[in-house]
Structures are given as C-alpha cells and as structure tokens.
Symmetry: C2
Subunit: 250 residues, 2 copies
C-alpha cells in the first residue's frame, strides 16, 4: 500500500506561520480534505483534488481520508492551528480505531502547527509564560459539569488558562457561566485577553480585567486567555505587553 | 530608533518545523542571542553576530538583547520550541519591565514556534486531543508545594498533562515525587509518554503505564505527557497510536 494520511496543522491563518513540513506534505498530496475555510487556504494544482466539507462532520471526513489512503492516495487532512489541539487528529484516530483492521496498516502522521493560543499569547506578550491549561469550552461532546469542575480546580491551582470555542450562536450561555465561575474563584483585577482572528488581516486583541469582561467579547473566532494571579501588564507608549513572570514567590 | 527585538521559536530541533516568519527574522537580524545549542542552529553569515551564552543567564541575555536594540541593532533572541512556553519571552519582558524607560519604546515581537509538547504529541498520535495542561516541573523559580498542589488538582480534574524540565542532575528528586503524587491520584493503567529529543536524529519515544514508569525514563531532554483517564492506545502492526478521544461520557 503506497497511500498515507498526514494530518497537518495550517496554523492560525497567516501563511508565514505554516511550517515547511506542512508545505512539503501538501506538495506531495493527491487529495486534501477538511473544513471548507481551511481547504480554501490550499492552492489548487493539477493532480490535487480538494474535498471541502462542513464542520460537525469530523468522523465522516476522517473515514473518507482513510478510505482514500487505503486505495493508495496521498491524503492531507488539514486543520487550522495544531491538529492535536481540539482539531482533526483525535477524530482521525477515532475513525481509525473503529474502522476495518486494514486501516491499521495505513501510515498516518500528525504534522504539528502553531495553535491559536500560542499565536495569541505571542501577540500579547507571554501570558502563558508559566504553568497553563487549555480547555475546550464547547459542551457538544462533554457534560457542562466537567467543564465547570475543571475551571474551578485550575483557577484554584492558579494556572493561566486558554479557552478554545468559548462561545457560539448555538451555545451562548456557556461563556456567561464561565465568567460567573471565574468571578467566584478569581479576583476582579485578573487579566483576560480576547484574541480574535489572530495573524489574519482582521486580527483584534483586547485586554480586560475580569471585572470588565463581558460575554460578547468572545465568539467562535476568539481564543480567550485568562492570566494567573501573577500575570501583569507593562504599559508602553507603543502598546501594552501582558506577561506571566517565570517566578512564583514562596 | 530603528532597532528591534524579535523573540523567536526555533521549534523542537528539525529545521522543517521552523516557521517562515522566524526564518525571515533571522535573515534580517544583525545579532542573535541565546543559549549555546540554540544559537548553534543559526547559520553564520556576513553582517550577523552570534552571541551564545550558557543557560541560567536568561535575564543577562535579555538585557543584552534590549541594550543592543536600543543602539539600533536588529536582535533575534532564539528559544527552542515556542518562546512563550517556559522559554525566553517572559525573561525578556521581565528585563524590559525592570529596565530603563527608554526600553519601552523598542519594538518587541514574539514569533511563535512548535513547542515540545505539541511536537511530542504529534509523534505519538493525539494524547493532548482534549483538555490539557502544561507544567514546568523545575522548582528553581517556584516552591515545590505549588507544583504538588497543581499536580493534584489537575489530576482530580482529569486533564492530560505535559511536563517540561521533568528531571535534571541537580533536581533528581522532583520527578520521583511527581510519580508518587500521580500514583496517589490516578489509576495504575494511566498512560505516560516519555518523548526525548523529538524531531531530532536521536528521537526516542516510549509509552508506559503509570505502574511501569520509573524516574530514569525522563531527563532534561524529555517532555513527559500523562494522559487523562480516557487516553487510549490503538495497537497497529506499524506501531501504536496514543490518543485522547474528543468526547467525555456523562
């Protein structure tokens, strides 16, 4: 069998953040599958078939990729950011585990990318410069009680936090509850960063305190970063820097 | 002032994982500063001065970079991985905050890179495919009690975990204690991944259960990933895949 699957991270949007490894995989591919806006980032060329699909069909898309690879195609599954962070890698492995045994002979590789929280952190300074966690705030695939428990415990442990999928039209209430939980666990001066469309032309980064934060500051294009209790702002004439110091006092 | 500082992530080691943005910054630089093995990855060329320094001098190195930029130099501070994850970005901002006011007019940019935990996760499958946290296990700059509290709370919240700097010659006991804490909080079948020198020629990835894990499986070149309770292995003739499913049952 000469086919393969490579699950590739395209980074947050700017082409200067796509690794040469991913560019090389796309150059070798016969087929690219992925969510419509990510496939739209791949240049058309003779010999390459683009298969764009809507979101919420991650398992169908994964099965399609594995079937084509089993037939000898060289398939790149594109994700934004890093495919291993709330993206396509876990979906492909779920499909593989539950699929025919022959799929276990297909070479499958994950090609890492710049994930949204790290691109957002870089733009703001270094808010994730010390211990931090990443939480998917969508309760489509997990009970809200699990999200709430995780939020409370990581706040109590004083991690910085990055939230993916903070708010969508179909789940407007989750981020409202998230802010309520944070207000119970953290001080009002806690810094929150709303980073929308990072590295893209419409990038918008907003710094607020927990007291100032409102639910409408986030949408599905936003990654939210909540600092630890030590996260601070450096005021500068050319714009603020938000960072978390490396040291934790006794 | 025409000088600037760019704090750039070189990724885990393989040049195919360096972003074009970082490559372009290095091409424009007059000076590169960083820890000896990272500066060694930058090609020499006329007009570029390389300033390699030992580790544990992060603040000196940051001050040096800012001083040179204030004099008009174009300075790249190189980090391995991502500069915002347990690397140079926070150190540069500490130096900037505590330095002369004029340093606040220097353009400073962070250029993200592929951090070790995401490169390691990609090699193994998708162990960080759901909520996860990143913890620096070094107690050089924080009390051990903080590390222990964080380990217990994130284990109770059932996050996957990535550990940076798990073990050094001067701190052999920290990872021993870490495994003891994990054994108190998690089941013996919990999966642990020891990923050494990821993406480099001497890469070595080892999968163990918590029951099998021993302290000598980690060193300073290793990133350790502990799965959540849902993290699983797919057995394949061509090697195992470790991944964390996207769904958490009720």
């Amino acid at each position: 069998m000469s086919g393969w699957v490579k699950i590739a991270g395209l980074g947050p949007g700017n082409e200067a953040l796509v690794t040469p490894e991913v560019t090389a995989a796309l150059a070798e591919a016969t087929d690219v599958v992925g969510y419509i806006p990510y496939v739209a980032r791949v240049a058309e060329r003779p010999g390459l078939t683009l298969h764009a699909s809507d979101n919420r069909v991650e398992i169908d898309r994964s099965q399609h990729a594995l079937r084509m690879a089993a037939e000898g195609k060289r398939v790149v599954v594109v994700s934004s950011g890093d495919p291993g962070v709330f993206a396509m890698a876990a979906a492909v492995f779920e499909a593989l585990e539950n699929g025919p045994d022959t799929w276990r002979e297909i070479p499958v590789e994950v090609l890492p990318g710049i994930t949204a929280m790290l691109a957002a952190a870089a733009r703001a300074g270094a808010p994730l410069g010390h211990d931090f966690c990443a939480i998917n705030l969508s309760d489509n695939l997990k009970p809200w009680a699990v999200i709430e428990k995780r939020l409370r415990l990581v706040a109590q442990a004083d991690f910085a936090m990055a939230f993916y999928n903070p708010r969508s039209k179909s789940r407007p209430e989750g981020f409202v509850k998230t802010l309520e939980i944070l207000r119970q666990e953290c001080e009002p001066e806690r810094l929150i960063l709303f980073a929308r469309a990072v590295s893209r032309p419409d990038e918008a980064i907003r710094i607020a305190t927990l007291a100032e934060a409102t639910p409408d500051m986030a949408d599905m294009q936003t990654v939210v970063i909540v600092g630890s209790s030590l996260t601070r702002v450096i005021d500068r004439p050319i714009g603020p820097i938000v960072y978390t110091p490396r040291s934790t006092p006794e």
